[in-house]
Amino acid sequence: MALVRERDAGAFEALYDAYYRVVYGIGVKMLGEAAAAEDLTQAVFLKIWTSPQAYREGNFGAWVSRVTRNRALDVLRGRAVRPESEIPHDATMEGSLDETVFAMIDGERVRAALATLPEEQRRPIELGFFGGITHEEIARRTQTPLGTIKTRIRTGLHKLRAALEGSAAR
């Protein structure tokens, strides 16, 4: 990213090659079609190129994933502001997945980690992340009490983290 900040086109291309499958994949999953995913991919990488200072620190893949989801939510919801961005950036760093763990993460590992979760925990997490809906809507769609959904999401995310760390350790 340091090179991208210095307008190094080669570095930008390398960044694209490394992350476009994640960006495009999130686009297809959330927006449901290739054309929209392509638009999203272009928008995300243009943001990286034109506003590289928006990324400050932490794992770049995690940042790209977050930016891409937020962009897709913009399309889905027409929202311009996400309250979770009120969290201080520092707070996202303490206790984050170790950099070496994140460096080993790829689609296969995350899908495998997700597969270790019981269906009742995996489904609300996937509905929330990729469906862009609130926990209340998740509860309605799955016909599950709100409190139960809260517990399942929390437990599921803890298990997912543990599974990812375990996967990286192997």
Partner: protein, 258 residues
Amino acid sequence: MNEHDELFESVALLALGVLPEAEATAVAAHVRDCAQCRAEYAELRSAADALGYAAEADAALIGGADCKRLKARVMDAAATATPARRSSDTIVPLRRAPAAFASPGRTAWLAYAAAAAALIVAIVSSANYGVLKKQYLAEQNDVARASDLQARVAAMLVPGSRYYAIPQGEVVENDGRIIFALRGLPDAGPGKVYQAWTLAAGAKTMAPSVTFVPDRGGITLIELPRSAAPLAAVAVSVEPAGGSKAPTSTPTFVRKLT
């Protein structure tokens, strides 16, 4: 159960990004001041961020030709883009609807737009939202939206602007700049967006322009990219997300610029 216990239960929902806005704001405020909740948030947020990788596409599934075409498209766009604050190709207007729209006239529109722009700027600069300000400044595109909105409002107020009434609001034209000020637009529907179209003078077919989604109040204030040729008409239709090369639905409106 005390307030902390109640909010702690919602930290995972905040990390996953599934809380309604008002609730998210309350939980986020608590997280800022609570070490235990901050640690929980950081731990779960990174797990949530990793979720995106579950969607990672196989290059073979995208298709070799499409992979190359997409990469060429992005690199071409980057080559012509300047490192400036800019909004996305799909324009997302302010989400907050005005409390009331007493008058459907231009005055009400401009008052709303100006107030909305001021609101964003006020939020960005308010001492009471120091952390939010920090995040806003970091998120260049959000700030750019505020700046863009102010610019659009200013453009609408420039003497010499021409106003073309449409059922959903007005089309404003000034020295080649075209601005849509629309209200009451229904949600375009799942996987759908609104798309603007332009008809150059002498042309027989509409050319695709930007896609956009109204805010929750159906409000849209967007400026179309400048056209090389004088425009004879503009239109809007509902299209699949990402836009279309030619309209695929009955236009929401078509307005001659004469």
